[in-house]
């Protein structure tokens, strides 16, 4: 089994100049369209080449106040209004300001166990599939898991 067999051909992408606000909307609409929770999106340039990945983690990391350890010691603090201020600051930030640029990709011909190995060792939830610089799909950790599980449980010597 190879990457091409388990990759998702449907994927949404972001542009580097998109605002983070637009990225949040895209994450939501991608989840709606694909019927599953999407935690991160690929970022492609004007030539549709992969330049980064933006995940919910990246956005949460930015929203989180730098001195968060002090918040817990302020018992009379109402975080509601302050969080609104943090969200205001997000409006001025673009996808390229927060995206991860340390990219790990596989090709459609990468063996699925190599994909599993990368996901485990590098704690990755999703890996873009790139063929000759063109993004052709994305592999989610859940897809790998259920594909493998299905293959194992379908085998005649397992569970029989």
């Amino acid at each position: 089994m190879y990457a091409r067999d388990i990759m998702d051909h449907r994927f949404h992408t972001l542009k580097p100049d998109d605002t983070v606000l637009e990225a949040v909307k895209q994450l939501y609409s991608a989840s709606q369209a694909q019927g599953k929770k999407i935690f991160g999106l690929m970022v492609t340039d004007e030539e549709d080449q992969l330049v980064g990945m933006l995940s919910m983690y990246d956005i949460l990391l930015f929203i989180q106040p730098k001195h968060i350890h002090i918040w817990g010691e302020m018992e009379d603090l109402d975080p509601g209004d302050l969080f609104d201020e943090r969200l205001e600051s997000v409006k001025r930030v673009q996808v390229k300001d927060l995206m991860s640029t340390d990219l790990v990709t596989v090709t459609p011909y990468t063996h699925v166990f190599r994909v599993v190995d990368i996901m485990i060792k590098q704690h990755m939830r999703r890996i873009p599939v790139v063929d000759d610089k063109e993004v052709v799909g994305i592999i989610y950790r859940t897809s790998v898991f259920y594909s493998l599980l299905k293959k194992f449980t379908d085998a005649p010597d397992i569970g029989g």
């Binding site: 002090i70 302020m74 300001d97 927060l98 995206m99």
Partner: protein, 294 residues
């Protein structure tokens, strides 16, 4: 012989108690665009630049990137071309006061914390981290709280006006961004106040705003108003320092502009650096103990 030693809340505390254990490092052949991405993403003021052997060889701060923006360099410029070298270090078991003194001598806002070997960098030590420590120490100091409650007044507590820098630097909101950079470069401030045509506060441009503008392809010839933050966050000089510090820490801002009786009349600026230099976070309970005889 009797010697007089200056003491503060921070006396005896070690760098490891205040340092941030996150070091942003990039190799010298990486671009400024990638450096900006890391500074924004991890809310850092500077990044450590490493050579081909992954040994620390320099520092690139927001100020350095601001200068590159002003000079018209492209964001594809390599970090190694603009870095300041060598990086300055302190040690985890070193006294905070010694680290602060070194920062003052070299006119830098941060030091990198060196681990067991010269290549091992385990954290950064900067003014905002010290303020966080000060706040935590002072907010749990029974002496200060007890004295304030016994006296029933705030008379003995430090005010913003005692720690602030008593002047501001400003530029016109309609003037080019490059003018705001020139004003910032001439002083050791982190932000410049922008004023409208009537001289009233209109907004603020910080070094973070400037590196974001650079990253977004904005030109330094554009009006400063296009990238300024608004409204101007300010407090009164009569406000308690503790309250102002608390607000700055929880709102993630580096400074408050300080006004007098008229909120539109800005008289100074209180930065986290000012608060760190003031040493006492919230009250005057420990001030008598600052000068002792050994």
């Amino acid at each position: 012989m009797t010697t007089v030693r200056k003491r503060s809340v921070l006396s005896g505390m070690r760098v490891k108690e205040a340092m941030r254990r996150l070091v942003i490092r990039l190799s010298s052949d990486q671009t400024l665009a990638r450096g900006i991405n890391h500074l924004i993403k991890f809310k850092a003021g500077a990044l450590l630049v490493t050579d081909q052997k992954e040994s620390p060889c320099g520092v690139v701060s927001k100020t350095d990137i601001m200068a590159a923006f002003y000079g018209g360099l492209p964001v594809e410029t390599r970090l190694g071309e603009i870095m300041a070298a060598p990086p300055l270090f302190c040690y985890p078991d070193e006294e905070i006061e010694a680290g602060l003194q070194r920062m003052g001598e070299h006119r830098v806002h941060r030091l990198f914390v060196q681990g067991a070997t010269s290549d091992a960098v385990i954290g950064t030590f900067s003014y905002p981290d010290i303020v966080g420590l000060l706040y935590r120490y002072c907010s749990t100091c029974k002496k200060g709280h007890r004295r304030a409650s016994a006296e029933g007044s705030d008379d003995n507590r430090a005010r913003v006006k005692e720690a602030m820098t008593p002047f501001v630097i400003s530029s016109a909101a309609a003037a080019p961004i490059s003018e705001a950079i020139e004003v910032l470069s001439a002083h050791t401030f982190g932000a410049v106040l922008l004023t409208d045509s009537s001289g009233k506060p209109a907004g603020v441009i910080s070094k973070t705003d400037l590196i974001l503008a650079f990253h977004h392809g904005c030109r330094p010839e554009r009006p400063a108003a296009e990238i300024m933050g608004s409204p101007v966050l300010s407090c009164s000089g009569e406000d308690l320092l503790a309250d102002a510090l608390r607000e700055m820490l929880i709102r993630d801002v580096q400074r408050f502009f300080v006004h007098g009786d008229d909120p539109l009349e800005i008289k100074g600026v209180l930065s986290l650096s000012d608060a760190a230099r003031f040493r006492s976070g919230t009250c005057k309970a420990c001030i008598p103990s600052r000068f002792i005889s050994d």
